[in-house]
C-alpha cells in the first residue's frame, strides 16, 4: 500500500471498503440485474474517488464460496479513459470480478443440495477489517476507514448465530468481551471477532440491503458499530441512495440527518422451540437461549443448579424489548 507520509490527511478523507455481494443465486432472482447494479456501484465508486483527491476505495467481492479483493484504488492509479466508454479503473475492476467469479464457480462443485443460498459475508468482513488494520498500522495519519456492505442475499446460518449472540451481548452490556465464556460459540463464529474489532476500532459498518426481506444481522451490525443501515425502496435509483446516504465522509456525517432505524429488533430466538422471544433463560456457560427453564443445557450439557433456580429465575430473566 502506498501510504506516503507526506500526504496530509484531513478529517474528511475516507477509506471506503465496499463489500459487493456476488452471490449468483441472488442476482439471478433479483429484480435489479447485476449489470445495472454494477453500473450504479461503479459510478458511485468513481464519485467517492473524485470527492476528495486522497479518498481511497477498496472493493471486496463477497462470493458464494469465497471472497477476494477485486479493486484497490491505491494500487490502480491509472485514471485515464479507455476507449472513451469507461475509466480504466472500472474495466480493471470488472476484469478482476470476472476472474473471481470463475474461481468462485470452480470451488462450488460439491455444494450440498438445499444449502442456504447466502454469501460469505463473514469472510469479506474479516478481509475488510484486516485491510483496515493494516491501514491503522501504517502510521499516525491515515484516512478514516469505513465499511459499506452492499448485500442482497439472505442472512446465512452463521449470521444467525451472530445475530443471536449480538442480541445477547447487547442486553448484557457487552460483558462478554471481557470474558471467555462465549468461546464455545466463537468457534463457529469467527466473524464475531470481526464485528467486535470493527466496533472497537471505531469502524462503522454501513449497509445497504437489496434483498427481499430486511437483514436483521446487517441492521444490528450497523447499529452496534454506529453505521447507517438502509434498505432502498426503489432499486433502480440505487445510485441516488448510495450518493445521498453513503457517500459522505464520517466527519461530515455529524452535520447530516441520515436515515436512522426506527427500531432495531434485538430479540433473539430460543434454541428449544425456535420462537422469537423477548424474555428467556440463558445458559451461563455457552449463552444458549431458552424460552423456559431447563434442567440441562441442550447445547453444552451444563447442568443448572436446582437450588438457585428459584432465586435465579427472577434475575436471569432479562427483558429484551425492541428499541423504539
Amino acid at each position: 500500500m502506498a501510504s506516503a507520509p507526506s500526504k496530509l490527511y484531513a478529517d474528511d478523507v475516507s477509506l471506503v471498503v465496499v463489500l459487493v455481494d456476488t452471490n449468483p443465486f441472488f442476482w439471478r432472482a433479483s429484480s435489479l440485474s447485476f449489470s445495472q447494479f454494477l453500473s450504479h456501484v461503479l459510478a458511485f465508486l468513481n464519485a467517492i474517488l473524485t470527492l476528495n483527491q486522497l479518498n481511497q476505495v477498496v472493493v471486496i467481492a463477497t462470493g458464494y464460496n469465497s471472497c477476494n479483493y477485486i479493486f484497490d484504488s491505491s494500487s490502480d492509479l491509472n485514471q485515464s479513459f479507455e476507449n472513451g466508454r469507461m475509466p480504466v479503473m472500472c474495466s480493471s475492476l470488472l476484469q478482476k470480478l470476472e476472474e473471481f467469479l470463475i474461481k468462485d464457480e470452480q470451488l462450488s462443485k460439491e455444494v450440498p443440495e438445499g444449502r442456504i443460498k447466502s454469501s460469505l459475508l463473514s469472510g469479506s468482513l474479516s478481509m475488510a477489517l484486516c485491510y483496515i488494520q493494516r491501514v491503522f498500522r501504517s502510521g499516525a495519519l491515515h484516512p478514516h476507514p469505513r465499511i459499506l456492505c452492499l448485500q442482497g442475499s439472505p442472512d446465512g446460518p452463521e449470521q444467525y448465530v451472530l445475530f443471536n449472540i449480538l442480541s445477547v451481548i447487547y442486553s448484557f452490556l457487552l460483558w462478554l468481551l471481557d470474558s471467555n465464556k462465549g468461546f464455545l460459540l466463537f468457534r463457529y463464529v469467527a466473524i464475531m471477532n470481526a464485528i467486535f474489532s470493527a466496533q472497537r476500532s471505531m469502524v462503522p459498518i454501513d449497509s445497504c440491503y437489496m434483498g427481499a426481506q430486511n437483514s436483521a444481522f446487517l441492521q444490528q451490525a450497523s447499529y452496534i458499530t454506529g453505521g447507517v443501515h438502509h434498505k432502498p425502496q426503489h432499486l433502480d435509483g440505487l445510485f441516488q441512495y448510495l450518493m445521498t446516504i453513503f457517500a459522505t465522509d464520517l466527519h461530515s456525517r455529524s452535520f447530516l440527518h441520515l436515515p436512522k432505524p426506527v427500531g432495531v429488533d434485538f430479540r433473539a430466538s430460543c434454541f428449544c422451540h425456535k420462537n422469537t422471544i423477548d424474555m428467556g433463560y440463558i445458559c451461563s456457560v455457552c449463552l444458549s437461549i431458552f424460552c423456559k427453564h431447563h434442567k440441562k443445557c441442550s447445547t453444552c450439557g451444563s447442568v443448572f443448579g436446582q437450588a438457585q433456580s428459584e432465586a435465579a429465575s427472577a434475575s436471569d430473566k432479562k427483558r429484551k424489548t425492541p428499541e423504539t
Binding site: 456476488t22 449468483p24 443465486f25 442476482w27 439471478r28 432472482a29 440485474s33 447485476f34 449489470s35 445495472q36 454494477l38 453500473s39 450504479h40 461503479l42 459510478a43 466508454r85 469507461m86 472500472c90 474495466s91 470488472l94 470480478l97 470476472e98 467469479l101 470463475i102 468462485d104 464457480e105 442456504i116 443460498k117 439472505p154 442472512d155 446460518p157 444467525y160 448465530v161 463457529y188 427481499a212 426481506q213 447499529y223 425502496q233 426503489h234 433502480d236 435509483g237 445510485f239 441516488q240 441512495y241 445521498t244 446516504i245 440527518h257 441520515l258 436515515p259 436512522k260 426506527v262 432495531v264 434454541f271 425456535k274 447445547t299 453444552c300 450439557g301 451444563s302 447442568v303 423504539t324
Partner: protein
C-alpha cells in the same frame, strides 16, 4: 360520670318538629338505649353504637333547647332533648369518646368491609407513605377517592411498602461501647482528697463482662458481707492502685485486705478461659515460631496509658496488669456482644442476669466435651499428607456440544417461512437452477456492462426525485435522531406536560391492570363487582389517550402514538379477556336452565 355508661332523662324526637317522647336515655360503650316513661308509647330505642356516625348538638346560649342529634350510617338521625345543657354536655362527651374509639372504622366510607380494622399507627404509616411519594398520592387520589378501588385493595398490592416501613421501626439492639471502662475518670471536688466515681448500670455491666472475677466477687460479697457502696469503693481503690503502677504498694495492700486482693490479682477466671481457648486453637499453628520477630510479648511495648508510659517491673508479677491484656479483653467482650437483655436499673439484677447467660453459654461449651480426642482428630486433619491419600477425583460432567448448525439451519428455514411468500417464490426458482447456469448469467451481465459501458444517465431524474422524496419522508419521521444517543429517551423531547401525563397514565394503567388481573379467576361476587369497576375505569382511559395524541404537535405525534400503543395493547388485552370471560359466564348461566330442564 363514670367511664362505662351514662344515664340521663331526655325526650326522644324522631324529627325536629316532633314534640318528643319523655323517657330515660342510657348510653353504654356498645349501645344506646331509650326507654320511654310511658311503657305503652312507641318511642323505644335500642341502637348499637357502631351504627352511629356522628353527632350534632345545639349550643348553650343559643335560643334552642338542648338537643343532641346522633346521625347513623343510613343518614337517619336520633334527636334527644335534654332537660338542661349539662346533661347534654355529659352525653355529648360520652358519645364523642365512644366514637373516637371506633373512629377509624366508622369515619371511613369503606365500612362495608368489616374485616378491615386499622390501627391508628397503620393509618399514620399510610398517610406518611402517601405524603412522601407524590406519585402514590395521585394514584390514591385518583382511584381510591373516586371509588374505583377500595382503600384495602389499594394497599393490598403495597404490602411490601408497608412492611418495610414497619420493619424500620424495630429498634436496633445496642452493643457495648467500644470505649474502655478504664476511661472512667474520677471527679475531685478540689478541696478534700475525696474522689467520686460515677457508676451507671451500663458501666457496671461492662465491668462485670470484662472482669469475671469482679463479677464473681460481687455475687459472693454483696450484700451479705459488704454493701454495694463498699464493694465499689474497694474496686476503685484497687483500680487506683493499678494506675499508680506501684505494684509494691498494691502487693502490700492486698496482703492486708483479702477482698481488695481479689481485684488486684490476676483474674483467674479469665486465665482459665484463655487456657481453654488456647487448647482449641488449630494445633498446627505454631505461635512460638515467630516470637523472634514479634515484640508484642514485651508488656506494653511503649504504649501510653493514662498519659504515662508503663514501666516493666519483674517483681510482683502477680499484681501487674498490662494494657495489652486490657485491650484484648475489652475487644473480646465488645465482639461477643451483649447477651443480657435486662433493663439496666438494679446492679444486683444485672449481675445475676449476666451470671445466668454465662452459665448457658458454658453448658453449651461443655457439650463438645472430649477435647483431647478432638485435638488429635484436628491434628490428623490439618497435617494431611497428600501423597498418602487416595486419588481424589472430582465429579466431572463431560462437556457434550451439539453442532449448533442443526439449529441455525432450521432457524433459517423458519425465518424464510415467516418472511412472506414473495421470497418463498424466488427461493424456489433459485433452487431449481444449477450453479453453472447462475454463474453463467452473472458472467454474462459483466460482459454486457463491459460492452455497453456505464448507463447514461445512471439514474433517471424522476427516479432520483422519488428517492429523495422517500428519504426525506423517512428522515423527517425520525427527525430527532432516535437511537443516536441511547441515554436520551424519547420522553425527554416531549413537552413536559405531555411527558408527565404519559407517565401518569402509565402508572395508573399499571395499577388498574394489576388489580384487574389479580382478581381473576372470579370466584366471588365481590371480585365480580371489582372487575366491573376496574373495567369501567379502564374504558375511561381510552378517550384520554386519544386526547393526548391530539394535543401534541404534529412532528411529535408519531412518537407519542408509539408510546401510547403499548398502553392500548395492554388495555385491549384486559378488556378482551373481560369480554371473553363475560361471554363464558353468560353461556354457562344460559346452559344451566337447559340442562336442568
Amino acid at each position: 360520670m363514670t367511664g362505662g355508661h351514662v344515664t340521663k332523662r331526655a325526650k326522644y324526637k324522631t324529627t325536629i318538629k316532633d314534640p318528643g317522647t319523655p323517657g330515660t336515655l342510657r348510653m353504654t360503650l356498645e349501645k344506646i338505649l331509650f326507654v320511654p316513661h310511658n311503657p305503652k308509647s312507641a318511642g323505644k330505642l335500642d341502637v348499637e353504637f357502631r351504627f352511629i356516625k356522628g353527632q350534632k348538638h345545639t349550643k348553650e346560649g343559643s335560643n334552642k333547647p338542648p338537643w343532641l342529634n346522633l346521625t347513623n350510617n343510613q343518614n337517619g338521625s336520633f334527636i334527644f332533648e335534654f332537660e338542661n345543657y349539662s346533661d347534654l354536655q355529659d352525653c355529648r362527651d360520652f358519645v364523642g369518646k365512644v366514637l373516637a374509639k371506633s373512629g377509624e372504622v366508622s369515619e371511613k366510607p369503606t365500612v362495608t368491609y368489616p374485616d378491615e380494622q386499622l390501627s391508628a399507627a397503620e393509618m399514620e404509616l399510610r398517610i406518611k407513605l402517601l405524603q412522601e411519594d407524590s406519585e402514590l398520592q395521585t394514584l390514591h387520589k385518583q382511584f381510591v377517592l373516586s371509588g374505583v378501588l377500595t382503600e384495602a385493595e389499594f394497599w393490598a398490592t403495597r404490602k411490601k411498602l408497608l412492611d418495610r416501613e414497619a420493619n424500620k421501626k424495630t429498634k436496633q439492639r445496642l452493643g457495648f461501647k467500644s470505649a474502655m471502662i478504664s476511661d472512667i475518670k474520677p471527679s475531685t471536688d478540689g478541696r478534700t482528697n475525696k474522689v467520686t466515681f460515677n457508676l451507671t448500670p451500663e458501666i457496671i455491666l461492662q465491668i462485670f463482662a470484662e472482669k469475671p472475677a469482679v463479677h464473681r466477687a460481687f455475687l459472693t460479697y454483696v450484700p451479705n458481707k459488704m454493701s454495694e457502696r463498699d464493694f465499689w469503693t474497694k474496686y476503685f481503690r484497687a483500680e487506683y492502685l493499678h494506675s499508680t503502677k506501684n505494684s509494691v504498694a498494691a502487693a502490700a495492700e492486698a496482703a492486708e485486705d483479702e477482698e481488695l486482693a481479689v481485684f488486684l490479682k490476676q483474674d483467674d477466671i479469665l486465665a482459665s478461659e484463655s487456657r481453654w481457648k488456647i487448647r482449641r486453637v488449630d494445633p498446627t499453628l505454631d505461635m512460638d515460631a515467630d516470637e523472634g520477630d514479634d515484640y508484642t510479648h514485651l508488656p506494653d511495648h511503649g504504649i501510653f496509658r493514662d498519659g504515662s508510659k508503663e514501666v516493666t517491673e519483674s517483681e510482683n508479677e502477680l499484681y501487674r496488669r498490662t494494657l495489652s491484656q486490657d485491650i484484648n479483653r475489652h475487644a473480646a467482650v465488645v465482639l461477643e456482644g451483649r447477651a443480657v437483655d435486662v433493663e439496666l436499673e438494679d446492679t444486683r439484677s444485672v449481675a445475676e442476669a449476666l451470671a445466668q447467660s454465662k452459665q448457658e453459654s458454658s453448658t453449651k461449651g461443655e457439650s463438645d466435651g472430649d477435647t483431647s480426642r478432638e485435638r488429635l482428630g484436628r491434628v490428623s486433619r490439618m497435617t494431611e499428607i497428600e501423597d498418602l491419600q487416595a486419588p481424589n477425583i472430582l465429579p466431572l460432567a463431560p462437556l457434550c456440544i451439539k453442532d449448533p448448525r442443526d439449529y441455525f439451519d432450521s432457524q433459517q428455514a423458519n425465518a424464510l417461512r415467516t418472511s412472506g411468500d414473495a421470497l418463498g417464490g424466488t427461493e424456489q426458482i433459485k433452487c431449481s437452477l444449477s450453479s453453472q447456469e447462475v454463474y453463467g448469467s452473472l458472467r454474462q451481465s459483466i460482459s454486457v456492462i463491459k460492452a455497453i459501458g456505464l448507463k447514461d444517465p445512471i439514474v433517471k431524474p424522476e427516479v432520483a426525485h422519488q428517492v429523495f422524496d422517500a428519504l426525506t419522508q423517512s428522515i423527517s419521521t425520525t427527525k430527532y435522531n432516535i437511537g443516536k444517543n441511547p441515554q436520551e429517551s424519547v420522553l425527554d423531547r416531549l413537552p413536559k406536560k405531555i411527558k408527565e401525563e404519559l407517565l401518569h397514565h402509565w402508572t395508573s394503567i399499571l395499577e388498574l391492570l394489576r388489580h384487574f388481573w389479580s382478581s381473576y379467576p372470579i370466584t366471588t361476587s365481590y371480585l365480580y363487582t371489582k372487575v366491573n369497576r376496574l373495567k369501567d375505569a379502564m374504558s375511561h382511559i381510552y378517550p384520554q389517550l386519544e386526547e393526548i395524541k391530539g394535543s401534541v404537535p404534529s412532528d411529535l405525534r408519531h412518537q407519542v402514538s408509539l408510546l401510547i400503543r403499548p398502553m392500548h395493547q395492554a388495555l385491549d388485552a384486559a378488556i378482551q379477556h373481560y369480554e371473553a370471560d363475560m361471554q363464558k359466564r353468560s353461556m354457562r348461566s344460559g346452559e344451566r336452565p337447559n340442562g336442568y330442564a
